[in-house]
Amino acid sequence: MTIRRSGVTSGITKAQAGITFLPDSRRTEVALGDHLLLGAWKTGVGIKAVCGGRGKCGTCLVSVESAAEGALSPVTAEEADLLPRAGCGQIYRLACMAEVHGEVCVSVPPESQALKNSPRKPYTVTRVALAPAVAHLAIDVEPSSAGPPRALAARIVAALARADRRVASLPLATLAEFSRQPDFDSSARVTATLAHKRVIRLRAGEARGLYGLAIDIGTTSMVLFLCDLAKGEIVAVRTAGNPQAAYGEDVIGRMTCIQADIAMLATLQKRVIDELNRMIAEAAAEAGVSQEDIADAVVVGNPTMQHILLGINPEPLGRGPYLPVLAEGVEVEAASLGLDIIPGAPVFVLPMPAGYIGGDTLGAVLTRGPEFYRGNNLLVDIGTNGEIVLAKNGVLTAASCATGPVYEGAHIACGVRAAPGAIERVWVEPGGAIRWAAIPGEGERDRRPVGLCGSGVISAVTALVGAGLVGTDGAFASPDSHPRLRRSERTGQMEALLVPGIGSRTGRDLVFTQQDVRSVQLGKASLRAGIEILLREQGVSELDHIYLAGTFGNHLEPRDIVAIGMVPPVPVERIESIGNAAGDGARMALFNRRDRRRARRLAGEMRVVELANCAEFQDLFVACTELSAASAPQLGD
């Protein structure tokens, strides 16, 4: 990606030009010849760029508000292909293709804005046995007048020893911080907060509350649970979009950004930590908890997110053989990451079983009780990637499939994130009328839809195939078979008109295209082929249960995903949505330190299958593109 590299890393100061981004009115300067998107990245203006800024997807559409003659490079044929047809006097450009040569002002329309609002990520409360990794210990420090004169630190160490906690010394940071507290050396009763054998905080007087954080860092969204470690309860929850989305929609986008300029690694790391700190402050305020009482944290994420959080270059994860730089679960001190909790608080980042199976998948597995290890069960976490874990009588095998960002509404002509206004369900009535239902917005009066989110995409395919408007091979029926089927003038491909422009919020027709059906087929074929390989390899012919995890898995109709063959045909009542299982798993590991050991053990035991190395993958993948509920997909004669 030389274009970007030349823009970002050049050491020589080049002539600059200013860009103002509306509606946030953020201004930045870029070197002449750099793309608008680079400016957006620099200021953190969230513009969708599904393809990572390569001029392939057309999602980074912006409208030009003002620009002097020649301030933007002319539209190339490649760009023109992806631009909406001219109309309503607006000049549209693709942020990744328009080069800046002078002062410009552009506006980012709602459909191009990267996710800002909190996505819907519910959680499941599971009762857990409490055994936190941190604890308060009340000790009685001898007064300075008693016995031979001894320094305070030595007297605290002696008091700890009397309470059966032998430590050689106190961490300097803990002691120094304590010495800055009022009355630190005049109280006999001192509360020490211990993480394993490390004293992470000292306070005069009796113990106060003891809190911890469970954090799930997704590529798109983040969830943070503030938990009371004494009671085993959640006291506040915060969800937010991952601010790194401004630098690349998916993990490859983030890696590309870092590949172009290694300094971006620190920027991406800081973005996430700043956002976490904001979430921590909000959650603590809501629950009336002091951030000084947060003594522990557990983090899960996909391998890329975990690498970036720890400041480790994730690049090797992006190319074969997809090895992590660090796979083991690690514990670091909060201060080293810059998290605003007790500086010495341990932050445990779950291990990753492979370069493409992260602590988030492991977290999801952690939530499964003994029933998961009896019989044949499958756990599927569907997001940008699909992670699958098969438990055959307790033996775990896992694989990761590139399902593509289809399920987040990306790569789909009218795809949007799951947010108010997104169509989440489509059906065809017996009379042939195409109907839809969108996610309602809180207090929003505009009920017109914006586009289709992931579950709407799957629902649309299922409905169209069910009504015979799309064949099981994925090809559209002829345009004269239904009044809403037509051939696009622009692309020459078939499409179904879901919502005419007059009824949509963008004013443009919401369509579901032949290309969209193909994207769904590729995504679902990848997932299903992965599942089939695990089943065949383990000699499993029938599944007892399928557990669907992840935001997307949560909103899917079991009936739909069986109908299009995304998962093997099992009775729908045996398919269960288990919500944001990764976050639930992180919480379990927070409440009970034995679950951290269990996570480490599971990571070691889980056998990971590299699908690309399976000889039969190609044929299976191709056969699995069929949109039907076949039990053993096979490529025809």
Binding site: M1, R319, A475, R518, G636
Partner: protein
Amino acid sequence: MAAILETIKEKCIRGKRVELMEEVKRALAEGIDAKTVMNDALIPAMSVVGEKYSSGEFFLPQMMLGARAMSEALAMLKPYLAQGTYEKKGKALVGTVAGDFHDIGKNIVKIMLEGGGYEVVDLGVDVSAEAFVNAVKTEAPQFILMSALITLTMDSMRKTILALESAGVRKQVLVGIGGAPVTQKFADEIGADFYGSDAHGAVEKCNQLLH
């Protein structure tokens, strides 16, 4: 004769492998020249499959089945084709670049090239720049077709072209690149000779460049 060639073409387009083989046998038994079967039925059939794929009417299974039927039929015809009449249009190396293990797109290009009358040497996946250079020296192809499916591995294409240059063999071959993240612009930037937007497009570009 036209009728049976038409049937052969149709069976091949539809990927009906077993029926295609029967029809080809029948044609040979009726005394139709193997070369005619190849040039007037099989090769045009593959071109139709490619067009249907590009227009979105066909998808991977149809493409794969059509291509497999075709290569089996070609294998059956081979002994009947007199020496010298089974001439290949040209020779191409195909491979997915270093660090990238994506197989399917590259395989489709390979099948389409074979269907289009080319001799193809498949170097596989995760092919190093060095391996491409060595293969150019030993195979002396007219074309190198490189595939990359991840943005991060696109750089391996540039490195391969640089390696061809430093080995002094760059001018002996025409370099084509393709894959989901690849663009014409990227091809221009790294000095590739052409870009194929899909398998069909790649074969068409090769055909144009031969003329």
